[in-house]
Symmetry: C2
C-alpha cells in the first residue's frame, strides 16, 4: 500500500497507493469475513432451543454453558450482524432468517409492553432478569432494528426503532441542558446518581446515539430523525471533544463539565471480568476516538453534507490516536491514555483495533494523507497476527502490548460480531471506493 | 390593608394587614368574578352555531362579526375558564357543559389526526385555516386540557394533554442545547429563522410551558412531567433571568444568548392592532416578570418544594417591577422598559395588570413584605377605576398612563377570560389564605 523505503512525502505529493497492495489487503479482508466471521456466527450464534442468540464462546469456540443470559447489547448486535450478512450475500437464505428470528425473540422477551422500551437482560429462555432502561442499550436497539429494515425489509424493525426513538425523546433527553441522560429505571424514571449515573452524561452514550440516529435517519428519511442527529453531533462537538488536545472525553456532569470517570452500572467497563489494570479515571480511548471520527463522516453523508464537513475534527481525533495510541513497534492501538501524553493502558483490545481499521481508511479516503494508510497497515498487521483466531475465524478479546492473549475468549455478553464484522465489511467498502476512484483516475 | 399614615416599617416589623381591608377587597373581587366575568362569558362565550367559543367583543360587548376565526390560544383559555368556573361554582351545570362542548370542538377541529398536535387557527365553523404547530399554543392546550380533567373529570383532557406533552418532547425540544424551539411547521418540521423564529428561543414560550407542565404534573402525578417541569424551570433560571438586574429577558438565539426582540409570526405582539408605539426591542415586561414569579411559586408547590424555594428570584423579579414598572401616582403597572431604568412604554395593558394582582399578593404571602401589599393596592385601584368595564363586567384591553382607553375592546383573538378571571380567582384564594393564617394567629 505504501512503500516504506521511499522518503517522507507531504499529502499533496502523495502517490496513489499501490493498487496491488490494496487488492491484496482486500482479499485478506474478504477471506476473513466470508470464511471466518460469517461462518463462525452462522454455525454458533443462533440459539436452537429458545431463539435469539448465543454469544459467549470460549477460546476454543465452545459455548460457555454458565453464561447464556441474553443482553440487549449483543442480541441487537447479532440482529445487526445477520441483517448485514444478508446484505453482503443475499443468496444465502439463512442470514435474513436468522436476523428475523432474533427480532422475534427480541420483541417477545425484551420489549416492555407496559412502559415501552427494551429490557437490559433476560435469561436464555427469555425470562426477564433486568428491565432497566439503559440509553446505551436503547441506542443499539435503534441501530439494529433500523438496519434490519434496510437490509432485509422486515418492517417491524423501523417501526420499533421509531418507537424507541420517541421514548428516548420523551424520557432520556435533558431538556434543560441538552444531551441525554445515561441510565433510567424500568419505568423510565431517572436513575439515582453515582454508580447508577443519573447525574452523569458520557461521550459513549452520545456517540452511539449518533450511530443509531444515522441509520434511523437514513431509513426513515424523516426530518425529526435528521434534526436529532444534527443535535447529538452538536452536543458532542460542543462539549465532548477536548478543545486543546482534540481527543474525546469520557464522563461529564449534567452541565457537561468533565468528571473523573467512575464505574457505571451496566457498562462494559463495570462488568468486564479479569480487569488487568486499575481502571484509569481521566483518560481518552484511542479506538473510541477513531470510531467517532468515521461515524461523524458517515453521519455527514446521511445528512447530505460535503464529504469533508467534519475533516477538522476528524483529523484531530485521528491524529491524537496516531501520536499517542498507535504502537509503531508492534502495531495495533493501545487502550487508553491521558489527553496529552503517551498511552497509559497499553493492552490492545479487539474493538478498539477493529474500529481503528475503519477510521484510518476513512480518514485516508477524505484527506489522502498517507500517514493514515501507514497506520492502517500497522493495525491490520497486528490484528491479523494477534487478535484474529484464524482457526475459529473470529477475534479474541484482549492481548497485551506484544500480542500475548490476556483474555482469549471469542464471545461474551458484550462481544459478538458487531465490531469485528462491521470493521471488516466497512474496510472492504472503503478499499473498493479507493480502487474505484483510482481506476477512474487512470481512465482520465 | 396598610395604614399609609404610619411611618415606614421593615418587613419583620410589619403589622398584620387590616382584616377588615382584606375582607373588603375580597368582597370586591368576589363580586367582580361572580357578577362580572363569569356571567359575561357565560352569556356570550359559547358559539351557539358551531360550538367552541366566541371571544371577539367590542367596547359595547357586541360580537365583532368579521372576527370570528377561532384561535388555539383563546379556545383553550375558554376551556380553562369554564372548567375553572365549574370548580368555583359546581352548582351551576352550565360551566362543565360549556367546557365539555369546547373540548368537543377543539378535538374535532384543531387536533391533527395525521401528525399529532393542535392547529393554530380555524374558521368559525371549524374549517382549518392555519395548521402551524406553535409551542405557545400547544402549551395552552396542555394547560387547559389538564385543568379540565382536574376540574370537571373529563378524562379526554389529561389524555390529550399527555399526547401533546409527548409531541413537544419529540419535536419541540432542542436536544443539543436544552430548552424548546418556538415555532414549528404543520408537520412539526422546525420553522425557518427570522420572522418564523426557528432560530430563536423566548422566555414567553418557556414560561407558559412551566405553567402548563405545573398543572400536568399535578394532575398526572408522573415523574416525567415533574422532571420536565424542573428542567424548564432550570432553563429559565439559568438563561432567561438577567443576572444583574433580576428581571426576565425576552428573545434568545438557540444558545440562549440574548437577542434584540423582533416581531415573531403568530404572536400577540406581531398580530396586535393599533400598536401605539414602536415595538421596543430590548426590554423587559413587568407583568410577565410578576407572572413568572407566582408561576414559579406554584410550580414549587406542585414539586413539593418549600414555599420559599424560589424566594430569591421572586423577590428580584417583583422588586424590579416595583422599582420601574409600578406607577405610584396613578396606580397600575406600565408595559415595558429597559432592564436598568424607568419604564419606556407607559401604557397599561389588561394582562400585565391582571398578573400583577396575583403576583404581588403571592410575593406578600411568602415574604410578608408590606411593600408588595402596597403595590397590590395601587394596581387593584387602577384596575377597578380604569381597566374593568363595570357595566359589562370584563376588562378592556389597553389604556394610557392615566387610564384613558386606547383599545376598549373586551375580547379579541388573544383575549378571553384567562388573565382577568384567573387573576381574580387566584387573588381571592390568596386573600383567603392570608385571612386563614391571620385567624389562626389570633387563635393562638
Amino acid at each position: 500500500m505504501v512503500d516504506s523505503t521511499t522518503e517522507a512525502r507531504t499529502p499533496s505529493q502523495a502517490r496513489t497507493p499501490s493498487q496491488a497492495r490494496l487488492r491484496e489487503v482486500r482479499a485478506q479482508l474478504v477471506e476473513h469475513l466470508h470464511e471466518g466471521i460469517m461462518p463462525f456466527w452462522t454455525q454458533r450464534g443462533v440459539d436452537p432451543l429458545y431463539g435469539g442468540y448465543l454469544t459467549c464462546f470460549d477460546a476454543e469456540g465452545q459455548l460457555v454453558d454458565e453464561d447464556t443470559d441474553k443482553y440487549i447489547v449483543t442480541q441487537t448486535r447479532m440482529i445487526w450482524g445477520f441483517s448485514t450478512f444478508h446484505q453482503i450475500d443475499p443468496t444465502d437464505d439463512r442470514y435474513a432468517a436468522y436476523a428475523r428470528q432474533g427480532v422475534d425473540f427480541f420483541i417477545e422477551h425484551f420489549w416492555d409492553a407496559d412502559q415501552g422500551g427494551w429490557a437490559w437482560k433476560v435469561a436464555r429462555d427469555g425470562t426477564l432478569l433486568d428491565n432497566g432502561k439503559v440509553v446505551y442499550g436503547q441506542s443499539f436497539a435503534i441501530y439494529a432494528l433500523a438496519t434490519t429494515t434496510l437490509a432485509t425489509g422486515d418492517v417491524r424493525g423501523l417501526d420499533y426503532a421509531e418507537r424507541t426513538f420517541d421514548l428516548l425523546q420523551r424520557f432520556a433527553v435533558d431538556t434543560a441542558r441538552g444531551g441525554y441522560y445515561e441510565n433510567l429505571e424500568p419505568d423510565w424514571q431517572l436513575s439515582p446518581g453515582g454508580f447508577c449515573a443519573g447525574d452523569r452524561k458520557s461521550l459513549d452514550i452520545h456517540m452511539h446515539l449518533l450511530e443509531a440516529f444515522t441509520v434511523l435517519a437514513q431509513v426513515s428519511g424523516k426530518e425529526i430523525h435528521r434534526r436529532r442527529l444534527e443535535e447529538v453531533i452538536d452536543a458532542i462537538l460542543t462539549h465532548m471533544i477536548d478543545p486543546k488536545h482534540g481527543c474525546g472525553g469520557n464522563q461529564y456532569d449534567l452541565d457537561f463539565n468533565p468528571l473523573p470517570a467512575i464505574a457505571i452500572r451496566r457498562t462494559f467497563n463495570a462488568e468486564r471480568e479479569g480487569e488487568l489494570v486499575a481502571a484509569p479515571t481521566d483518560t481518552t480511548s484511542y479506538g473510541h476516538n477513531i470510531e467517532l471520527a468515521w461515524l461523524l463522516v458517515r453521519a455527514g453523508e446521511v445528512l447530505g453534507k460535503p464529504r469533508n464537513a467534519y475533516e477538522g475534527v476528524v483529523r484531530r481525533l485521528v491524529d491524537h490516536a496516531l501520536a499517542y495510541g498507535l504502537d509503531r513497534v508492534h502495531g495495533g492501538v493501545y487502550r487508553d491514555g491521558p489527553h496529552d501524553g503517551p498511552a497509559l493502558v497499553r493492552d490492545k483490545e479487539f474493538w478498539q483495533n477493529a474500529e481503528a481499521l475503519v477510521g484510518l481508511l476513512d480518514a485516508y479516503e477524505i484527506t489522502r494523507d498517507e500517514r493514515y494508510l501507514e497506520a492502517f497497515e500497522l493495525v491490520w498487521s497486528f490484528v491479523r497476527r494477534h487478535l484474529i483466531n484464524h482457526e475459529l475465524g473470529e477475534w479474541i478479546t484482549l492481548v497485551n502490548e506484544i500480542g500475548e492473549p490476556l483474555a482469549a475468549g471469542i464471545g461474551s455478553p458484550w462481544k459478538a460480531c458487531y465490531h469485528s464484522g462491521r470493521a471488516i465489511h466497512e474496510a472492504i467498502r472503503r478499499i473498493d471506493l479507493l480502487l474505484a476512484v483510482d481506476a477512474h483516475m487512470e481512465d482520465v
